[in-house]
């Protein structure tokens, strides 16, 4: 927590509001969010929990907590030479112990009047709000729906080329992107492992600690079409999704043959000294296709936000995830009350070792809230979320994070 205040103090004292000079610009954003689970079913951990960020392993319990989603980010953009700029974004999150990470670092090259080539580390453009899902000030709610925005991978290293076309009052932004990303020691996998298992290794094998996830050969496209009241976006990408984890085997020794295990030996290393690693099979090594269509329609007083997505795994289960989100926001001068519904489903389309096919799980979040703009640099928000588990049908298991829970959160989002 101390680091957060140090960072805030730095921001406040160093006059970041002003442009340092014409070549270097500082800006930033942040959120202070607190929340508390009001009611729900007890998870296997013994707590009533509401998961809000899978990537950073943030969740609320019945104890009020304001470190799970509080964060601050500072962005520096520098003009290197004509048409070439460099952008770096440092992000410190409460859920991550306030240790600052370089979330973004890329070079941007202006190609002619309407083209931009970006090389480096950026947000992966998946869902409609993915590219700015952490910039709370830019959207009405406290967070985008947690049951959709749940991936371990949210950024990637690679190239993006965007070209904009203007015709009449319409603008079309077309982009292609490619790259890869690896996240190591992901805590959420440890979370799942401790609460009922994540995937199903052979008997006698145990997944040890956290897992590493890599998305390689990412290749995709975004098409965004907008005028002054409609903004539509179609997105597609494919990647190779691989999850690995250190594992160990246990040898149970019955030394005096009395039927009782006397000694357990854990074997982490192969005879050649390398570690046992799980992950090279059809449940943890497969291709992923992502399809999305979303947008916002701004009417005189009401804004309608929608997002429909379909994710297909070429894995052993033939997993398919249809998800959607719809939200209505009323735009008063300073007040923005809103409602929202998000829904996610998992369908198994291939029979994996007799596991069966069919709809395996489904969950929804109903959201009610209000945003109040404090001037033009900060907004205060109060939000209620009701997570309902629509059933973990056979052949699937009941994952703990799918239990019913309701959450009350309050937050302040700011930009500078």
């Amino acid at each position: 927590m101390n680091r957060f205040f140090v960072l805030l103090l730095l921001v406040a004292s160093s006059n970041f509001y002003t442009v340092a000079n014409d070549r270097i610009q500082f800006s930033g954003y942040g959120s202070v969010v607190g929340g508390k689970v009001l009611s729900g079913q007890v998870d296997p951990s013994g707590e009533k929990e509401f998961q809000v960020d899978f990537y950073d392993y943030a969740f609320y319990t019945t104890e009020f907590d304001f470190e799970q989603e509080s964060m601050v980010a500072v962005q520096m953009r520098a003009d290197v030479v004509e048409n070439l700029s460099a952008t770096v974004q440092l992000v410190a999150k409460g859920a991550d112990g306030w240790s600052p990470d370089v979330d973004w670092a890329y070079l941007s090259y202006q190609v002619g009047q309407n083209g931009t080539l970006m090389a480096g580390r950026r947000m992966l453009p998946m869902y409609y709000f993915s590219e700015y899902m952490e910039v709370g000030y830019a959207y009405p709610w406290i967070r985008p729906p947690a049951n959709l925005y749940w991936w371990e991978i949210t950024q990637f290293n690679g190239l993006t080329y965007t070209h904009s076309f203007n015709f009449d009052d319409w603008t079309l932004n077309a982009s292609v992107f490619g790259g890869r990303e690896t996240q190591r020691d992901i805590k959420s996998h440890d979370f799942w492992r401790n609460r009922g298992g994540y995937y199903f290794p052979p008997e006698g094998t145990y997944i040890s600690g956290t897992a590493d996830v890599s998305w390689s050969k990412i290749l995709g496209t975004n098409l965004a079409l907008s005028n002054d009241w409609i903004d539509l976006r179609a997105s597609y990408f494919r990647t190779h999704y691989n999850t690995t984890s250190d594992i160990f085997f246990t040898d149970e020794l019955d030394l005096n043959n009395d039927g009782v295990v006397d000694q357990v030996i854990e074997r982490f290393f192969k005879p050649d000294g390398s570690r046992y690693i799980s992950g090279d099979w059809a449940l943890t090594d497969f291709d992923l296709d992502f399809y999305g269509l979303g947008g916002s329609l701004a009417f005189q007083y009401v804004t309608l936000l929608v997002d429909y997505n379909y994710v297909v795994y070429d894995d052993g289960y033939g997993s398919e995830f249809p998800t959607f989100y719809v939200s209505l926001v009323y735009n008063h001068d300073v007040w923005q009350p809103y409602i929202g519904l998000s829904s996610a489903k998992l369908k198994l389309t291939k029979d994996w070792q007799g596991f069966g096919i069919g709809e395996a799980e489904e969950h929804q979040i109903v959201t009610l809230g209000v945003r109040y703009n404090l001037g033009s640099n900060a907004a205060i928000k109060l939000e209620y979320n009701d997570f309902s588990d629509k059933g973990d049908r056979l052949p699937w298991y009941d994952f703990s994070y799918h239990n019913d829970a309701s959450l009350l959160s309050v937050g302040v989002d700011f930009v500078f």
Binding site: Q113, Y137, N227, G375
Partner: protein, 137 residues
């Protein structure tokens, strides 16, 4: 008849409102291009980066919170200051662009009068012959 009078009164009020415009969009006198309101909106929201003739446009704003700028945002862009800030937050932090540079009214007049690539907003009473008024709100 009463209804007709009141309609007339409303129309007159609108007309007076139009005449007592307070904020002007200005360009260099040599820039004689016609720019419609949609094009203007696209320029000031960063969607359009050049003038209709294809030459690059440098868009300038008055400092944030300036009453003339707020009026322009409201009338021309249809956005409150907070809504516009939310829009730019999205653009800035996704690397899609940068908002118009902010300058004082004096700098605005000087820059637009001397640089044919610029376009900006100013209190209509401050717009002298050194600039061309494109439209006023």
């Amino acid at each position: 008849m009463i209804q007709k009078i009141s309609t007339l009164a409303v129309l007159t009020a609108c007309w007076i409102g139009a005449v007592s415009a307070e904020v002007a969009v200005i360009v260099h006198p040599s820039n004689q291009q016609a720019i419609n309101e949609t094009y203007l909106k696209n320029l000031f929201t960063g969607k359009q980066k050049s003038f209709p003739d294809g030459s690059p446009a440098i868009v300038l704003n008055l400092p944030e919170g300036d009453s003339q700028q707020s009026l322009f945002n409201e009338k021309a862009l249809g956005k409150s200051n907070a809504q516009l800030k939310a829009y730019w937050s999205k653009v800035i932090f996704t690397g899609k662009g940068t908002p118009p540079k902010e300058v004082t009214a004096a700098e605005m007049l000087n820059l637009v009068a001397t640089n044919p690539s610029t376009i900006g907003v100013i209190d209509v009473s401050q717009a002298d012959k050194s600039v061309r008024i494109l439209i006023q709100y």
